[in-house]
């Protein structure tokens, strides 16, 4: 007779499965329907639980942890309001392809559907915003759902998954911890074979005179930086990245033309206009980058992606290859010719020189661009940087250059204000020895400012930089440019004293408003590994340039010099 395993509770099993999987940190917040699980977590010596101040904080921390380490991020919430507080984070992780496992408490199975206290149909709510979700109906199903969920979260194009865990299933006894058969197909987690014709793909690339690599977040998920560099250097192919692809190719490399799109560099966007061949590596031709029908319209367009649903979704392409980007590039590189391209590379070097990122730094006020340049120098370009959403995010993307992947944490797809602070905290937990800086605005920081308490409680040395323009700056910029300066509800004329607020949490702070104070402030900011708040006053009128207005294409880019010429810098 086979030895039957001893029965344990569903909650115990879930904790053991997490331990066996190698999860050593989870971010969460308890409540009634998840108490049996928390009781087992209490006994775990392998899993550290980080108690947050709001469940949205927990999931963004899990995202920051996942993006900066490449591992699965795990967050826990109770039923009802706890679970619904995860919705923004799940959507954020879905759009930016971040592997997250969310475990939520649920009312007991016999109460489901009765509008019980703190009941929310989180299964139904999260269908469109997860890659996989399940309502666990029996403790015997836990092991299978856990295995399916974790495989799907990291398989193929990564993303968030959710397990809804009713209270009675947490206490139900089970001995089923081995899974006989998964109910999902292996296509959801096995690396696919390379799909498409490598030879004709390579031939088209070899024919190009002015090729360009357009690198997205998928390159980071596929850990393909090394191969991208190899391809770029072998063929002397300039590289532009999307907001999510920042770091996949060294920002200081001679072949780098920086970020493209709405607030990309002029030279990246001009490269898109001038290239005769563009190769999309794990990007998705999204609307901040590509206008269907106009994007690189005269170029041969090629695309490599792990997600076939991205092919020809917004922009049609001439050549495509399906598969894991790293594997595909490994197979492709030997077929690519070694070429010098003095004209094309030289042409872009000239554009770089003639159309640099620009701003006016002639006054005593602090310009965020200048400040970020200094921050980049002082932190030696080695920090992990998270951002919130707005002008500060775009300036950080433009002025802080990265040599490596997994150091740039930003909400690209959803544009979630409130992402920056918790993401930085999560990253610091995953990278205790690195400098982690959160670049935020006076608007965004207040969306999850309660997590200052988490920083204080766990003594995490997160560096918080707040650019204060007393405005919802990006909204103001659009209103100035496209709504005839009607600043409807974007003026932000009440802020707390951020320095005092930090002090309330025993976090040291400083506020500066004059250029002459920058060096000292940066010293204070970075001198040790303690948390800091640095509030930097900046002019409200400062705008992010270049800019491609929404719905327009590279041809319609407005540069800083254009506005100076028009007399309204």
């Amino acid at each position: 007779m086979p030895k039957t395993e001893a029965k344990i509770s569903g909650a115990r099993l879930m904790v053991e499965l997490l331990e066996e999987y190698g999860v050593d940190i989870v971010f969460g917040y308890p409540g009634g329907a998840i108490l049996p699980f928390y009781d087992e977590l209490y006994k775990s010596t392998k899993i550290k639980h980080i108690l947050v101040r709001h469940e949205q904080g927990a999931i963004h921390m899990a995202e920051g942890y996942a993006r900066s380490t490449g591992k699965l991020g795990v967050c826990i919430a109770t039923s009802g309001p706890g679970a619904t507080n995860l919705v923004t984070g799940l959507t954020d992780a879905k759009l930016d392809s971040v592997p997250i496992l969310a475990i939520t408490g649920q009312v007991a199975t016999n109460a489901i559907g009765t509008d019980a206290f703190q009941e929310a149909d989180i299964y139904g709510i999260t269908i469109p915003i997860t890659k996989y979700n399940a309502l666990i109906k029996s403790a015997d199903d836990i092991a299978r759902h856990f295995q399916e969920a974790t495989l799907v979260a990291l398989g193929g194009r990564p993303g968030p998954v959710l397990l809804d865990f009713p209270k009675d299933v947490q206490t139900e006894l089970t001995s089923v911890r081995k899974v006989d058969k998964l109910k999902i197909d292996s296509r959801h987690y096995q690396k696919p074979p390379i799909g498409g014709d490598l030879d004709s793909f390579a031939a088209a690339l070899n024919k190009a005179k002015r090729p360009l690599l357009y690198v997205g977040g998928g390159a980071i998920n596929a850990n393909a930086s090394k191969e991208i560099k190899e391809l770029a250097e072998k063929g002397n192919i300039p590289v532009t990245t999307t907001l999510m692809g920042i770091g996949a190719f060294p920002g200081t490399h001679q072949l780098s033309v920086g970020m493209l799109g709405m607030h990309g560099t002029a030279y990246a966007n001009k490269a898109v206009l001038e290239c005769d061949y563009i190769l999309n590596l794990g990007a998705r031709f999204d609307d901040r980058v590509a206008k269907p029908g106009e994007f690189a319209e005269n170029a041969v367009r090629a695309h490599i992606d792990i997600d076939t649903a991205e092919f020809n979704k917004r922009v049609s392409v001439d050549y495509l290859l399906h598969g894991d980007l790293k594997e595909v590039l490994k197979a492709l590189i030997p077929k690519v010719n070694k070429v010098d391209r003095p004209e094309w590379v030289g042409f872009l070097d000239t554009i770089k020189k003639n159309h640099p990122l620009e701003f006016d730094d002639s006054t005593d006020t602090i310009k965020p661009q200048a400040f970020l340049q200094k921050l980049y120098e002082k932190s030696k370009g080695k920090a992990i940087v998270s951002t919130d959403v707005g002008q500060h995010q775009m300036w950080a993307a433009q002025y802080y250059l990265f040599e490596e992947a997994n150091r740039w944490l930003t909400s690209g797809g959803l544009g979630t204000m409130g992402y920056g602070l918790p993401a930085a905290i999560g990253a610091k937990f995953g990278n205790p020895n690195k400098t982690v800086i959160c670049v935020s605005g006076d608007g965004s920081i207040q969306m999850n400012i309660q997590e200052l308490a988490t920083i204080a409680m766990y003594k995490k040395g997160v560096k918080i930089l707040i650019f204060n323009n007393n405005f919802l700056g990006m909204v103001r910029q659009w209103q100035e440019l496209f709504y005839e300066e009607r600043f409807s509800e974007s003026e932000w004329n009440y802020n707390p004293d951020f320095v005092k607020l930090g002090e309330a949490y025993s976090i040291k702070g400083l506020k500066i408003s004059n250029k002459s104070e920058i060096d000292k402030a940066l010293e204070f900011f970075l001198e040790d590994d303690d948390a800091r708040i640095l509030e930097v006053m900046i002019p409200a009128e400062e705008k992010v340039f270049p800019m491609i207005p929404a719905g327009k294409s590279q041809k319609d880019m407005i540069e800083f010099s254009d506005t100076v010429r028009a007399g309204k810098k």
Partner: protein
């Protein structure tokens, strides 16, 4: 153009929401959905008739394949499959036209499922064109109520 998609899915209550949600979310136009279990009780067969050009339907297929509960998606070319839809229709009848309606039903091989002094409930099944045609014939008598199943379909076998 219309496409008939045959989708094999895991048979559990959430699957319908996953699949139909995908269609609404991405604003693909569905003509009809019909679902039933297959010879394997763990697997259901969904037949979705969707409107759109080939590139849209290709997108639909790829998006469907990303759903964990979707096992297989097949685009059944219209001319290559047997498709049926069942319709129940209540028409008004009078003594003067009862035999006329009955003889039309005979031609169409439609069944009379129920009869009252003033109404007749007719059961008819066929492919879309036949159903449309039959409904057209019934129109003139006055249709009081209709229930349609949506199409189901299977591919013609070659051997």
């Amino acid at each position: 153009m219309k496409h008939i998609l045959k989708i094999l899915v895991n048979n559990h209550p959430g699957v319908m929401s996953h699949v139909s949600g995908l269609f609404t979310r991405r604003s693909y136009n569905i003509d009809s959905i019909a679902v039933g279990v297959t010879q394997d009780p763990e697997i259901s067969n969904m037949v979705i008739v969707v409107k759109g050009d080939d590139s849209v339907v290709e997108q639909v297929k790829r998006q469907l394949l990303k759903l964990p509960d979707v096992i297989e998606v097949e685009d059944l070319a219209y001319h290559d499959c047997i498709s049926r839809e069942l319709v129940l229709v209540v028409v008004k009848v009078e003594d003067s036209n009862r035999t006329e309606i009955i003889s039309i039903c005979e031609v169409f091989q439609a069944k009379i499922a129920d009869l009252t002094k003033t109404t007749m409930t007719i059961e008819f099944s066929g492919n879309t064109r036949q159903v449309e045609h039959f409904m057209e014939m019934m129109q003139k008598y006055g249709i009081q109520e209709i229930a349609r199943t949506g199409q189901i379909a299977l591919k013609y076998r070659s051997t």
